[in-house]
Symmetry: D2
Subunit: 255 residues, 4 copies
């Protein structure tokens, strides 16, 4: 039976604030990227999210970010690769420790927001992150956006890396995401999103805004959890896969 | 050759702010309690402090605190033992991760400020901390104030624990610290402090403000690093020990 | 025509996080207590909330809090009256400045959460707050929980004060709120809440959990905006008042 | 008698952390730029600094910054002019409120660090700041680096503006500061700095690293307070002026 992983960003609240419906998403996804104090998350949200993931049998990864709670990690902060390496390590370490407390291991690392975008293009930053991950725990894998510098550097460094595509984002002929400000950037219709994914997993050809399709590699599909209709889209995608006999299963084992 | 450990709180800056003279203290002490983001410390100060400790051959421990940068961890925040357990784990985990990045292991944990004071008396908090430490890494030891609940709970839980006395604090006949607001709380004269310690390590009898002395256990002497004369006092104490043929050495090995 | 004020806490998000449905509440209430950076709120949420209030013709007050974003201002922090005075002044000053930027004046001050609870009972804290408010701008009024120390001290100091009761909280025979952990603390049924208020405004007698009623003074009714059913309850209360010919209007003019 | 203003950045601590020797500097300068919560400063440091300034008869201004405590306001954060306008207003408002509490008025505004550098060159940011200042209080003046966009926009907008030069920074033939990474950026010798200033105030010609001099306007000399030798340099400059019969006096009156 063919399986595919669905991943989502979870645990992105802080104190009394929440973001999205974590419990609903954990019933849909097979992997959860857990905020670890950079853009969101505190020790209590980390513990709660990891416990919930554990009870759903969902594999968990760390979701480090520029230390920018106010900007939710969406801003590119002027920080050096050495600084990025240190905060990435510290955030992952904090989540691993909470994971030990609640009995849920951290299996992989996926950078968040602006950090992911920078690591997708900047080799020095990608290298800083890969080395931080490898130093903290050599068993940690990387979950990278398909076709990025981060994916490439992980492979060069001998760090296990998995690739993701996005359920609701348009692609350019180069295999990159259409910028959010451009037409075709977002797919809002769950059915359109699901059909595109089903087609893609037959031949690894991703339709693009240019008309032609591009070959991509993918071990996981990222579905967003913070928009109002996120749970509905995520549920529809899961149902579409399972209706075709494609199982939803994590890209790597739990620990 | 008899040896004794000297420990100090280091890495207690944040961003552009510093506290005390870490480099000078690292030439004097044998163990350093490194701030890990609770009351002070960020990934860069952690990395810098651990690297400096490494170059001085100083053993390093984590120095977790109530998450209270503004109050420098000196305020008792209204937090439950479960919350304390989680932030303690997260802070230790962050420092361990930075330690792996720079090649300096974290050997023990010593709570900071108000957290240490609460853990000295409150069994539930002491237990929360001990379990956090043990969950994160069962090889971590505890450095506790001699005669406290934290020391006792660590022993009950089978966690290796070392005890410390204070170079510059007065003691009550019960073996507790004289409150800072009371007469005799502080010893300001380096020579008085050094002589008291030398006497103590001959027979484990600590003079008290009540006149009589009290029996205490001690593997380490805590010397403060954040007062203007801290380095001078620390240096004098070290010199006094070595002049008597007592070596300065960590209470536990580095890794 | 008799009128009554409805007030709610708004602008309680931070960065990307939101709390409740501010736009919906601003169509219901006549006064809005705007978070000013203590427990919630940043310059952007302040500006956005004040602009929205302005467009709805809603009078706005400052809603200062213990500086405790992580605890959402619900924890009693160990701070002196002098410290409380300073952070209260600073938070009010920040909101006034934003108000000037967007053309919406700040008319009154209502303490938030734990700060309100402490100011309700502790005369020194009440006095610190009253003096902070008066120093920053002598035209600012106080909105206090009916029957509290804060109300009393404001009156003693000659600061204009208005009193509020709660739409959804049970009262004790002493005119205090039933603690949240006790039976009868919360009223969940909008119709029960509305009927109680309508009865109260006929004779100023508030029913209590003890059976008898207590005389209270009230210029405003506080309706909570952060629970899932908040908007429905608020709307029902407003509709019940207007159906009886009681208008909804602010307790003081805009500025 | 000719007079010149000396200004320095003060109140740049946070909680238990301090930066420089504020008390010593307040005996030397005539104007103090007080951190107001952006890069440094909390309500207690603001109150303490304003009280100390008041007791020295020093005029005080607000010293707003990118909200970046961790980076001490030295990093250019990716924020829009509208966001800059709001945080600038909020920071100034907080300081004004504290000033009212302690009886020390805020007379002017001088942007800090990276914000000052951006406002020196970017007209939209300069305009955002000028409008924030003017909205909060139309009596506030601007203290701008001589020759910058901020100075120019203030003048265009009809906001009173004063210009400053730097005691310890080298100038280019264009009247700009030599970048810190270039030779000649810093003047470390107090005597060299003092002699250059004395010469400058005879004919408004500033020597440059290019050999020729450049005409600058100046109402104030900025002397840094956060380097180890800051107090010595500041004291020497003050003494050099007064020895020549030039008085040290604020560029504007206190209230």
């Amino acid at each position: 039976m063919q399986t595919i992983d669905l991943n989502a960003d979870l645990g992105e609240g802080y104190g009394a604030w929440t973001m999205g419906d974590d419990a609903a998403m954990l019933a849909i996804v097979s992997s959860a990227n857990v905020a670890c104090g950079g853009h969101a998350g505190d020790p209590d949200t980390m513990a709660k999210t990891l416990q919930l993931a554990r009870s759903h049998g969902v594999v968990t990864g760390a979701h480090p970010s520029y230390p920018d709670r106010h900007g939710f990690g969406r801003r590119r902060l002027p920080m050096t690769p050495a600084e990025i390496q240190r905060f990435t390590a510290a955030q992952i370490g904090a989540l691993i420790a909470i994971g030990r407390l609640v009995g849920q291991p951290i299996s992989y690392v996926k950078p968040h927001g602006a950090l992911a975008n920078v690591a997708a293009q900047d080799g020095a930053v990608a290298d800083a992150i890969i080395r931080a991950v490898h130093s903290v725990d050599p068993h940690l894998a990387i979950l990278a956006i398909s076709g990025t510098m981060l994916e490439q550097v992980a492979r060069q460094r001998g760090v296990r890396v998995f690739s993701e595509i996005f359920a609701d984002r348009g692609y350019t002929p180069d295999g990159l995401l259409v910028p959010r400000s451009d037409p075709g950037a977002m797919i809002h219709d769950p059915d359109v999103a699901a059909k595109r994914l089903l087609g893609f997993f037959q031949n690894w050809q991703m339709p693009t805004v240019g008309g032609a399709s591009v070959t991509l590699k993918a071990h996981s599909v990222c579905i967003h959890g913070d928009s109002p209709d996120a749970v509905a889209m995520a549920g529809h995608i899961r149902a579409s896969f399972t209706a075709r006999g494609i199982g939803i299963a994590p890209f790597m084992s739990r620990g």
